[in-house]
Symmetry: C2
Subunit: 337 residues, 2 copies
């Protein structure tokens, strides 16, 4: 007992001995299309079931692809991230992949160590949902035959696939929503985490507003969360002339913003203030909020991801843009024509 310690995982050899056949027979029994007689197949399956045998995919992964896909993610508790992880894991599993998750920080060193682990486990592909790996790390992954997919990371990196929601369209449409609602004093609320996605939404919103001859006050009070949105509203409405039309680059920011506007300043929506978010998290549909926003088409992105990984010959890399879907609720006045 003290000698064998703990290696009780039953292997194909044990099954073979019990079934009175060769180990090859066991292997073939569990391989589709291999040549085994009905008789030995039966014996093998019986012995396997008695012993509780399960094929060792680690060993199998030594020869062929491992079927492991690594998800690198930070801020998993954020509703939008949780949903993305949920959708992707479901779709990947359905496609026969196994998901290894690496919960990391967004700083470069954390991502780097995550990438290295991905290689240690011979993952077929790495999907990065947060943070941005260095170009060198990606090169190493590619050199090892691994696919790299970035989701909603707009940084231009060669050699990897890039799935992203159309942030440009988001920023533009958000502006038009507010203008159609007749808003005069615009503000944009973002976070101090300068993600490329968020920056893009901000850039386009401000740009389009400027083209239309309108100024935009930009506010960033902290990380991308409820509290920062709340604080942004306090600062904006603490001034003499607060905005009457606001685009929060994230729903979470928007909900915090809305709560502060209502509870601290007694504003009502969409009367005194029109508010647009981005992401379409569940909470935005709650009765206390009913936030008008844009949904990220995660299902479509997941399908595309599966398609990419399914190809034996790696597809051409590049960007693939997905249109956000406008979700009309009650935080913006209907068009005041």
């Amino acid at each position: 007992m003290s000698e064998q310690e703990r290696r009780p995982f039953v292997s194909a050899r044990t099954v073979a001995e019990r079934a009175g056949v060769s180990r090859s027979a066991v292997s073939r029994t569990f391989t589709d299309g291999a040549s085994v007689s009905e008789e030995t197949r039966r014996k093998v399956l019986e012995a396997a079931s008695e012993l509780g045998y399960h094929v060792n995919h680690l060993a199998r992964g030594l020869r062929e692809r491992s079927n492991i896909v690594c998800l690198v993610v930070a801020d998993m508790t954020t509703p939008i991230r949780a949903r993305l992880v949920d959708v992707l894991t479901r779709k990947l599993q359905a496609a026969g992949k196994v998901i290894m998750i690496i919960n990391t920080g967004t700083d470069e060193e954390s991502v780097a160590s995550a990438l290295r682990q991905t290689l240690n486990y011979r993952a077929d592909a790495t999907v990065v949902l947060s943070g941005t790996p260095s170009a060198k790390l990606i090169e190493t992954s590619l050199a090892n035959g691994q696919q790299v997919v970035l989701i909603n990371r707009d940084d231009p990196l060669t050699g990897c696939h890039n799935l992203s929601v159309d942030n440009e369209m988001g920023g533009r449409e958000a502006f038009f929503l507010l203008r159609r609602a007749g808003c005069k004093r615009l503000a944009l609320v973002t976070s101090t985490a300068s993600t490329a996605s968020l920056l893009e939404r901000e850039r386009v919103f401000v740009e389009v507003a400027k083209e239309a001859g309108m100024d935009v006050t930009v506010m960033a009070a902290g990380p991308t969360n409820y509290a920062s949105g709340y604080e942004s509203a306090r600062r904006l409405f603490g001034r003499s002339d607060g905005p009457d039309g606001v685009f929060c680059v994230t729903d979470l920011l928007a909900l915090g913003f809305m709560d502060a506007a209502r509870h601290e300043f007694g504003l009502s929506l969409p009367g005194d203030l029109c508010l647009v978010g981005f992401d379409d998290i569940d909470e935005g549909d709650w009765q206390s909020y009913k936030l008008t926003t844009f949904a990220q088409p995660f299902a479509a992105m997941g399908d595309h991801l599966v398609e990419l990984l399914g190809q034996t010959v790696p597809a051409e890399t590049g960007r693939r843009i997905f249109e956000p879907i406008p979700i009309w609720r009650k935080s913006v006045r209907p068009s005041a024509e």
Copy 2:
């Protein structure tokens, strides 16, 4: 090109050839405490870095433990689940484990197939956060030397560790909170998903109330989510005498309940209605809610989990109960002595 297809993962042999040493030397370089001269170590590291070599943990896992821990979970998008997954992945990673996630349904067949996959990948341990595996499946896992840990699944299954929040205390304290607030007409809101945890909270709450001579209306309108809480409130306040003290077995239910009470029936909290939740999700602290609730001590549970898995000799199995932490906010009147 068509012949070698894609197996470009660089192995120790390639590194050895490049460095002009034996493969053993490479292996030893990456093994702590192995005997290698400074000279060859340098050569190996240099070659490894040039080729982008990473030790294959799959192959390593053939001989010793794989260091893989499987997380079986459903409803990942639920805030409380997302946080649990987040905490556990962080703690396990910090302890050198690698996390494989299986996003499954709660039905027995889904869980069974998840458990099988766990075995396929020789995970050292399986941690079940949702659903309940059959006793037979658990037996197979144990027979294969795998540890099984159930979290917040109160079902009595032998051979596996059981970490759980103290639901009994939750139900009891919830009642006392409401009684101290002077509530007369009690109700309990739960879901139609009869999880052992939820049933336990319900059972104790009703029992303690009965001992104190108070009746409890029990309401379950659907799955454990916001919408069910909302619907429960509509039904309860649609009657002649709605409750003035409610325990929702989940924060998500509580938030939906609160929104309906306020927006559909114009009730104010804690004046007309006292409300207690359970879980302490972030949303409960938002300005629109400020829900009084009980926090699940996930950090402590994670620490204990790591401790369990760290032991070379599997610890004695059994239940370990963690006390929930009362979170005072504004949905319950302060004690009316």
